[in-house]
Symmetry: C3
Subunit: 146 residues, 3 copies
C-alpha cells in the first residue's frame, strides 16, 4: 500500500481517424498521461465518447491488426439488412462497438500501467467515415508527494 | 483537477424486465443518481448482478435495438445443443452475457457523465423469462463542498 | 455512504494454466483478498496482464464451461488463415481475448463483492500452450477503521 492522498485527474484526448475500420494505438499517450500526474498506485479508465467506437487490448502487430478487422467484418457484416440502416448507414458500426465495449480500466502500480509487453490499448474507429474523436483518460490514485 | 475530498456512494437500482431479449435504457436513472451525489469529478461503475444479464453502450433507437437482438440470436443461437441445457434452459443466455460483459465504468467531469449524444447505457435481459433485476450504480469522486 | 478514509491496495495473483482453452474460477481468491483489506465500500478491478487471456463473469458449471469453449471455437476458429499466424501461431487467441475483454470492475458493499449466486469471475487461458499467468486484483474504497 502506497501512503498519501487520493487524487483524481481527467483529460480528453482528441485525434482524427481514417474511417472504417481504423485501429489506433493509444498506449504511449496513456503512459505519458499517467507519468505526468505523479500518481504511483491507482487505476486509469479509458472511455470512448460515442457509440460507434470501441476501446480494447490487443498486440499492436500489423498482421493482427488486419485480422481484427477481418473478424469484425465476418462476425457482424456491413449492410446485412439491419433496421437501423433504413434511417442511417452504420448499424454494423454500433453493433461492433457494443460487442467490443466502450471502456477499459487498467491498474497502475509503482507509477506504471501493468500491461504485458505485447499488450497495447487501442481505439477502434468503427464508423463508416473519417472522424474526429474524443477519448477520456481518467486516473484515480495515490500520489505520495501530496 | 477538482479540489475536495474523495467520496463514494452506492445504490442498487431494481426493476422488472419483459424477458428474452429485453433491452432497457438506464441512462436517465444513472444521470439522476450522479447529480444527487454532488460529485463533480470521478467515475460511475454500473454492474449487473447475475450472469444472464449484461451492461453495454448503444444508441437507444428502436431499429438498432431490434438489430442488437437479431445479431445476438445469430452469433449465439438458442438451444444449439449446449451441455448446460441438459440441466437448465438458458445456456445461450449465459454465453451472450459473457460476450457482452457485466460492467461498465464511465467518467464524470464537471458533474456530468461524459457520454456522446447518441450513446446510452443499457441493460440486456438475456434470460429466458421475465425477471426482477438489480444493477449496482457506484460513484467515486470529488465533491468540492465537503 | 460509509465514512472513513479512502484506501487502495493492489496484489498480483500468479497461477498456472493448462493451456487452450482453460477457464479458471478466481472468485474465492478475490473474496479472500477483499476481506483481508477490511474495505467496506468500494470496488475491485481484476485485470489480466497479457493479450491472450481474458477476464469475464459466468456461472462456473461444468457443462457451461464446455459451452463457453465451444462457442469461442465456433465464433473465432483456430488457424483460419490469419495473417498474424505467419509470424506466430496464436492469432485466434488474441482475437478471442479482444472480444471477451481484459478487465472487470466489481463493486464492494458491506465488505462483500456484489455478485449473484451463480455469477463467478473467471480467467480464460486463450493461448495455445500452458502458461504461468499474472492477474492484478486492485481494491479502492473506504475502511471505517482508518
Amino acid at each position: 500500500m502506497t501512503s498519501g492522498n487520493i487524487r483524481i485527474e481527467s483529460m480528453i484526448y482528441s485525434f482524427n481517424t481514417d474511417g472504417e475500420i481504423d485501429i489506433i494505438d493509444l498506449t504511449e499517450e496513456i503512459i505519458t498521461f499517467v507519468r505526468k500526474t505523479g500518481i504511483l498506485e491507482g487505476r486509469v479508465t479509458i472511455f470512448c465518447i460515442g457509440s460507434t467506437g470501441a476501446i480494447a487490448c490487443t498486440e499492436f502487430e500489423n498482421g493482427l491488426i488486419s485480422d481484427n478487422k477481418e473478424i469484425l467484418q465476418k462476425l457482424i457484416p456491413k449492410a446485412a439488412g439491419y433496421i437501423h440502416d433504413r434511417i442511417d448507414n452504420n448499424a454494423h458500426s454500433h453493433l461492433r462497438s457494443t460487442l467490443l465495449g466502450s471502456e477499459i480500466t487498467i491498474p497502475v502500480i509503482d507509477g506504471e500501467l501493468v500491461l504485458g509487453t505485447w499488450q497495447q490499448i487501442v481505439f477502434f474507429e468503427l464508423d463508416v467515415h473519417k472522424r474526429s474523436r474524443r477519448v477520456v483518460f481518467q486516473i484515480l490514485g495515490v500520489d505520495p508527494s501530496h
